[in-house]
């Protein structure tokens, strides 16, 4: 009995260790500003790094059209033509993950931003040719988040 308990304990530990790391797989920011202001800042942080904003998905409007309540909610899509071309020519499976995007929504008089780590793409598509690109997207994305979070 005692032996089997010990074994179960060990099995549990192994399970814990093998579990896919529920790693910090999202970039998030809480900005201490109202939604419209945070939205403006976000767009300028994106464009100042040379990206073009391609689309602002209006999520709350779509919900409200069906009479679902929602705070202000947008998904901002952005990219650089040359990079998108190069990456998807190299690996078309990347298309479903592009353009890059950041979700932004109101939380009371603050705003929350969410994005997935571009670095994660490296894990899905371990191509040395694309590594530097994913890393730069990651760096830009972290900086954009920092800028909206920390701008005084």
């Amino acid at each position: 009995m005692k032996h089997s308990l010990k074994w179960a304990g060990a099995a549990w530990l192994t399970l814990l260790l093998c579990m896919p790391a529920a790693a910090d797989d999202l970039l998030m920011a809480r900005a201490n500003r109202m939604f419209p202001e945070a939205m403006t800042l976000l767009q300028s942080a994106i464009s100042s790094r040379g990206y073009t904003v391609t689309r602002l998905q209006q999520v709350n409007e779509n919900l409200q059209r069906r009479e679902f309540q929602s705070d202000m909610y947008r998904v901002v899509y952005f990219g650089k033509l040359e990079e998108v071309r190069r990456a998807t020519a190299r690996n078309p499976d990347l298309i479903p993950f592009l353009p890059l995007n950041i979700t932004i929504f109101a939380e009371g008089d603050q705003s929350i931003l969410v994005a997935s780590h571009p670095q994660m793409l490296q894990e899905f598509f371990p191509d040395p040719e694309l590594k530097a690109l994913f890393e730069r997207w990651e760096k830009d994305m972290v900086e954009i988040m920092d800028e909206v979070r920390e701008e005084k």
Binding site: L5, A8, G9, W12, L15, L16, M19, P20, A21, A22, A23, D24, D25, L26, M28, A29, R30, N32, T52, V53, T54, R55, Q57, V59, N62, L63, R65, R66, F68, D71, Y73, V75, Y77, L81, V84, R85, T88, P92, D93, I95, P96, L98, P99, N101, I102, T103, F105, E107, G108, I112, L113, V114, A115, S116, M120, F124, M145, D146, R149, E150
Partner: protein, 349 residues
């Protein structure tokens, strides 16, 4: 003597400076990794309020750093596997800067009790909030999905992250004293005896030997994209996809190329086409579970032609469960994976 003093002064100044730097680092790291959920000042939001005096009094530094390291699998709180020891220390120090009083330390000694009796007491006194199996309250406290004046959600206890971080002595102290200012009350004051509390602690510890709770499970993905080859040309496949979308209870939104908005319409690559679609009620359900999922909506499938070969593909929605570390999304992810696969297959049939 003098040199000793100077040396000591320099050392002290150096120490002061490095800890001040670590302090600001801690604040910055906290801002980056924790504030989005726990609030800029630890006053709560998506997660549990960390600045609360009763929480600070009951949590040890070791508990904090282990919680950051392991997270709470399946329960939104991420495992920060990429932070190194010194960064975690800096964050713990920052969290501690809200502490007015002394903080606790615990020994790793096991609390002896009767888990069989503990199980009965758990069902009677704890299950209503923490779930019959200790799986935690529903909703993980994501404020956006519910009125903001609701009390704090009960965390999962049958969770490898919690069990790895909290020693028996801490669980016991939490039950003895409760957490003032939260729904978690002192069970001594509720009339339980210390012996009963020991029994409950030994039952909670036994969760470690039970199979992983459903609430701690996130979906595995073998392949991040669902892909099928199409026997049709690009245009026909796009039309098929639109039809498949409606057949699967989504409404068709629009068709755009991947490069839409990046260049003049005439220069867009016409061989990379995205079909956007949505199901507002599904979207509403998903947002109610986790307000962050909007980043994967609207739903979209890609149709592309390379060297005359046409393919249909989509992100595998099961990626979301792990990305958001939210087991409450599992059912929805599963459903979405089925619908997406059906759409992709119908479009290429």
């Amino acid at each position: 003597m003098l040199t000793h003093l100077v040396l000591a002064a320099t050392l002290l100044a150096g120490l002061g400076m490095s800890s001040a730097m670590a302090g600001s680092d801690g604040a910055k790291l906290y801002g980056r990794h924790c504030a989005a959920c726990h609030g800029a000042n630890g006053d709560g939001g998506i997660g549990i309020p960390l600045s609360l005096r009763s929480f600070q009094a009951g949590a040890s530094d070791d508990y904090l750093s282990k919680t950051i390291r392991h997270g709470r699998p399946g329960r939104v709180m991420p495992a920060f596997s990429k932070l190194d020891e010194s960064e975690i220390k800096a964050i713990v120090r920052h969290v501690r800067s809200w502490n007015k009083g002394a903080s606790a330390t615990y020994t790793g000694q096991h609390v002896k009790g009767d888990p069989v009796h503990g199980k009965k007491l758990f069902a009677q006194y704890c299950a209503a909030c923490h779930g019959a199996d200790g799986e935690g309250g529903k909703g993980t406290g994501v404020t956006y999905s519910r009125p903001r004046d609701l009390p704090i959600m009960a965390p999962a206890l049958h969770n490898p992250g919690f069990l790895a971080a909290a020693p028996d002595a801490m669980i016991k102290a939490t039950l003895m004293h409760g957490r003032e200012g939260t729904p978690m009350k002192s069970f001594l004051k509720q009339g339980l005896k210390e012996k009963d509390i020991d029994d409950i602690v030994s039952y909670v510890r036994e969760f470690e030997k039970q199979p992983l709770s459903g609430s701690a499970r996130v979906l595995k993905v073998e392949n991040p994209v669902i892909v099928r080859d199409s026997p049709y040309d690009l245009e026909t496949t796009v039309e098929n996809a639109k039809r498949a979308v409606s057949n699967n209870n989504f409404f068709y939104g629009r068709v755009q190329t991947l490069e839409y908005g990046l260049t003049a319409p005439a220069d867009e690559n016409p061989k990379q086409v995205i079909v956007y679609f949505c199901n507002i009620s599904l979207l509403n359900q998903a947002l109610a579970i986790d307000p962050r999922v909007g980043m994967f909506l609207p739903c979209r499938i890609t149709i592309l032609e390379t060297n005359g070969k046409v393919q249909v593909m989509s992100v595998n929605p099961n990626v979301l469960s792990r990305l958001f570390n939210n087991s409450e999304l599992n059912r929805l992810c599963d459903e979405m994976t089925k619908s997406y696969t059906a759409i992709v297959e119908e479009a290429t049939l």
